[in-house]
Symmetry: C3
Subunit: 130 residues, 3 copies
């Protein structure tokens, strides 16, 4: 049985997607951009600040699935300018203080929703679910 959840403190998604889908073992998050989140105005165009806002939201959604950053198995990052990868990574890495990094792919997309610089898609193994 799948569970489709939106975060109770966020606006409904503007697109036909769920913030979070959970099955018996995994949690799947929709691609997150800062433009969809409260506080967007102050950060859009700054890849560091966008990454921070998005990753905090990842943490909130993982919490709904009773998971943490170290339960992420796969992350897909899209940047509008691949040259900003180090700036993005400097923020991104801080969410994994134990160095248990998920498998990751980072590619360049010509344009992202809402004029954002970064979009992040996450998949996690929900702990304790056999």
């Amino acid at each position: 049985m799948l569970i489709f959840r939106n975060h109770p403190e966020l606006p409904e998604p503007v697109f036909p997607g769920s913030h979070l889908v959970m099955d018996d073992r995994y949690a799947y998050l929709s691609g997150l951009v800062a433009a969809d989140l409260p506080g967007a105005e102050a950060v859009i165009g700054d890849v560091r600040a966008e990454t921070e806002l998005v990753m905090r939201q990842v943490g909130r959604l993982l919490a709904l699935a009773e998971a943490e950053f170290e339960d992420l198995v796969r992350v897909d990052v899209h940047l509008v300018n691949l040259s900003e990868i180090e700036a993005m990574d400097a923020v991104y890495a801080g969410f994994f203080p134990g160095g248990r990094f998920p498998a990751r792919t980072c590619t360049e997309s010509r344009r992202l929703y809402g004029g954002c610089r970064v979009e992040i898609t996450c998949m996690a193994r929900r702990p304790g679910r056999e």
Copy 2:
């Protein structure tokens, strides 16, 4: 044991991929573009019509895995022009009348196979498989 299937009513894939791979719990579909499907000539270049053709094919492939649209957990959409997202979504959303939307990421790709406007990649949890 993995099962690799192509749809019996379609031409073999032109690329080294299977239309559908199934394991004991999940079904993985190759990225679908209208150019690979019967009826392509009439639709290529119209993102709405391409989306309709592709999503109908998603439904046929899910049926091979004994799954439905509401069993999709993750969908990756690629558009050549992100401005066409609302047009694509208007068609896409119609395949989920119950509003049980999978996690979704939509990005812009400079070019897609066969000159198509949209490509869709799906992953489903096969129901009833513990």
Copy 3:
């Protein structure tokens, strides 16, 4: 319990990611480009040679998960020029002599890490793990 592994014969990843993440059933590989691998200098810019180098590395990482190419369920390929798909496929297909091809999506990304022509992201079902 997740296992985060880097390949013992390779340099540590230059990005905050693991070469390989394993859970009880699946193996997730980070997106691989030739630039991250020994022998890169001789191949960057040649999509065939890059594909060969990357796919050999995929095989080594799958071996760490006790898996083979035929255990791959989903592969995402990114090319900087989609016109090079046939050249890439000619090499890629050779790694699946039995024709058991994973679900695949191939899109165009304007730029890839290290000036590479191709990046490949893989997900495998680890055999014998119920």
